[in-house]
């Protein structure tokens, strides 16, 4: 690491200032606001607020609706993370076998990542649409009367598919470059040491990919929990009704549609805690098993 000596002691802080300002204004300040308002019952029209203590929290945690949405969010997060990681890994391994640094091919494969979540959601909704969706014909062929927006399971299915589809290219690129960073001679040495390609993959390739996989695991969890907001929004079209939604979407619904700023804030704080615990867990228990080359 190169050491740089600053002649003026305040210069490094000055250079950090823009980044710190962004973090404080867009992350810490709203968080502090959320924590504060989670203890108040706000008037929807802004005519004042009443301190209610922990009541917002007890309301949320005692609600059946919240529990069922939380269950869906957990299932959704696990499914999306698992599927987008495993499908991307499979594709990357297959591509790595034939691909020797062809960047046009790589660019084409990661194209989907450039699509914004709401647009991806919209495309997905078209794909699953009750009137024009091509997927319906496939589903009908298997005797599946697919009804997005009406059937809870069908809507959840569409959400998972769209979210996974959206995330695969991102994971793919990381896995592919991770695979290509494994020295050729290490692969060759393992070919001499082990005949079974499947076994080589589990004992050599996968452990060497672990740092990439761990990074992607965190990114994908966060993505499934939070960044899928746009996809959920397009699929349920702002009217959740009986359809599955994630916790983040409920924060939005309650806060901006329901006008319950206090309850919505309490939910945000709960989510913050979840992320906090999740991060500690990931670093304490999963990262230990990761070998950094």
């Amino acid at each position: 690491m190169k050491r740089v000596q600053f002649t003026n002691a305040s210069l490094p802080y000055l250079l950090l200032l823009p980044q710190l300002a962004i973090i404080v204004i867009f992350f810490y300040w709203p968080s502090a606001q959320a924590i504060q308002s989670s203890f108040y019952l706000e008037d929807p029209f802004g005519f004042g607020s009443t301190f209610v203590g922990m009541e917002n929290y007890t309301d949320v945690l005692g609600s059946n609706e919240y529990a069922s949405i939380a269950r869906f969010t957990i299932a959704f997060t696990l499914l999306v993370t698992f599927l987008s990681l495993s499908i991307a890994l499979l594709l990357a391994v297959k591509a790595d076998a034939v691909l020797k640094g062809s960047s046009t091919y790589k660019t084409l494969l990661m194209w989907v990542y450039a699509v914004a979540p709401p647009v991806a959601g919209l495309m997905g909704v078209m794909f699953f649409d009750m009137h024009i969706g091509p997927f319906l014909k496939v589903a009908a062929f298997f005797g599946w009367d697919f009804k997005i927006g009406l059937n809870y399971f069908d809507t959840a299915f569409a959400m998972v598919v769209i979210a996974v589809w959206k995330q695969i290219p991102y994971n793919f690129i990381f896995f592919l470059s991770g695979l290509q960073a494994i020295p050729k001679s290490v692969r060759e040495a393992s070919m001499i040491d082990c005949r079974s390609g499947f076994r080589r993959f589990w004992s050599i390739i996968l452990p060497l990919l672990a740092p990439t996989a761990f990074f992607l695991l965190i990114i994908n969890m966060t993505y499934s929990l939070f960044d899928t907001f746009g996809i959920v929004d397009v699929v349920v079209k702002d009217k959740a009704a009986n359809n599955p939604i994630t916790l983040v979407y409920k924060v939005y619904m309650d806060g901006f549609r329901g006008g319950d700023l206090g309850g919505s804030s309490a939910q945000s704080v709960i989510l913050m805690l979840v992320v906090f615990v999740l991060t500690i867990f990931q670093f304490r228990f999963i990262e230990r098993r990761v070998h950094y080359g």
């Binding site: 020295p183 290490v186 060759e188 040495a189 070919m191 001499i192 005949r195 004992s203």
Partner: protein, 359 residues
């Protein structure tokens, strides 16, 4: 323990580039063969074809009696030591050594016995629990060797295993590899571009150039009787002096000027004449002139300690030659000297093909 036979082996890449052009070598059981040549001569490709890491375009490779052209690398009963060691970075030294044995379904106590034995031979017993990144270059090299030894394979394949080490360690490991190979008596094929490594290690040398074999033979035979100007200039350091000569009034003369007298034993019109730096001596009082004499002008003296190398030009300014002189000799730039060499030390090569002329 096995013989390795290469029968007109060729490697043609998809683009049409021919890396190996019909090479045949018979390697005896327990023999140490060194493939040597400049980069791009096809030596590594040849080794990788024996290992099964490159496909064989045409021809046949046999290990023992078995044709291995289509055999998986893991089933060829060979072990390979790579230039950059190719250790598994996430495994301890012990597991690096044991990995190939585990995959072959060997019993745990047998694996343990072999790993401990190899660790003892290579003196890496203290590092068995470490990961490769906690080892020095020399230690990694030992682990890579250990991974080959534990397998007790029919043949060792070495792909420039010492070129990532510093000079001192390289000499040390070179000696160890030789001693190890002599005690294990395992057939070995070793690739290097370093002629000194090749000379010191090989039972037989295979000098390659442009995908062809230039010469096969014991190191000293290759040194004494290089088959071509290529081998002559590649084997030996400093390289052999090569002079363009033609038939003159009496014997041979330089094409670029005067100063050389030599007999013309084969009666041809033109040759490339070769004399090693260590076979040229100064004509002084008491030293009789040999089959060849050469007048030259001193340019530079380069002392290397045990000896010195004198650079001089001959035939006007036509060509620079190198002469080995004793370490405390003194010469001035511009000094005129007369050199001589014995008939047995003068090599004749065809002026056009570069092949050795012996009749």
């Amino acid at each position: 323990m096995a013989t390795i036979t290469l029968d007109t082996v060729r490697k043609v890449y998809a683009g049409g580039v021919e890396a190996v052009k019909g090479v045949s070598i018979d390697i005896a059981d327990g023999e140490f063969i060194v493939l040597v040549g400049p980069s791009g001569c096809g030596k590594s490709t040849l080794l990788r074809m024996i290992a099964g890491l490159e496909e064989i375009s045409t021809g046949e490779i046999r290990i023992g009696e078995k044709v291995v052209n289509k055999v998986d690398p893991a089933d060829r009963d060979i072990a390979m030591v790579f230039q950059n060691y190719a250790l598994y970075p996430h495994m301890t030294v012990y597991n690096n050594l044991a990995y190939g044995l585990k995959n072959r379904g060997m019993a745990k106590d047998e694996i343990d016995r072999r790993v401990k034995e190899a660790a003892r031979i290579l003196e890496i017993g203290d590092y068995l629990d470490r990961k490769p990144r906690a080892l020095s270059g020399g230690q990694r090299q030992r682990v890579a060797m250990g991974r080959a030894i534990v397998r007790e394979p029919a043949a060792f394949l070495f792909d420039e295993p010492l070129s990532n080490l510093d000079a001192k360690l390289r000499v040390q490991m070179r000696v160890e590899i030789k001693r190890l190979q002599k005690s294990l008596k395992t057939t070995s094929v070793y690739v290097t571009h370093d002629q000194l490594e090749a000379m010191t290690l090989a039972d037989r040398l295979v000098v390659l150039s442009g995908g062809n074999i230039e010469q096969i033979g014991a190191p000293i035979d290759v040194y004494d009787k290089p088959a071509s100007t290529f081998v002559a200039s590649f084997i030996g350091s400093p390289a052999m002096n090569l002079l363009k000569v033609r038939k003159g009034a009496a014997g041979l003369e330089l094409e670029t000027g005067s100063g050389l007298t030599a007999a013309n034993p084969y009666g041809r019109d033109r040759y490339t004449l070769g004399v090693r730096p260590e076979h040229l001596s100064l004509v002084e009082a008491g030293v009789p002139a040999g089959a060849l004499t050469l007048k030259a002008t001193v340019n530079v003296l380069e002392p290397v300690g045990a000896e010195s190398y004198l650079y001089a030009s001959c035939g006007g300014t036509g060509q620079e030659i190198v002469i080995r002189v004793e370490s405390h000799a003194r010469f001035e730039p511009g000094q005129e000297i007369t050199l001589t060499a014995q008939a047995k030390d003068v090599h004749f090569f065809d002026a056009d093909t570069g092949r050795r002329v012996e009749s």
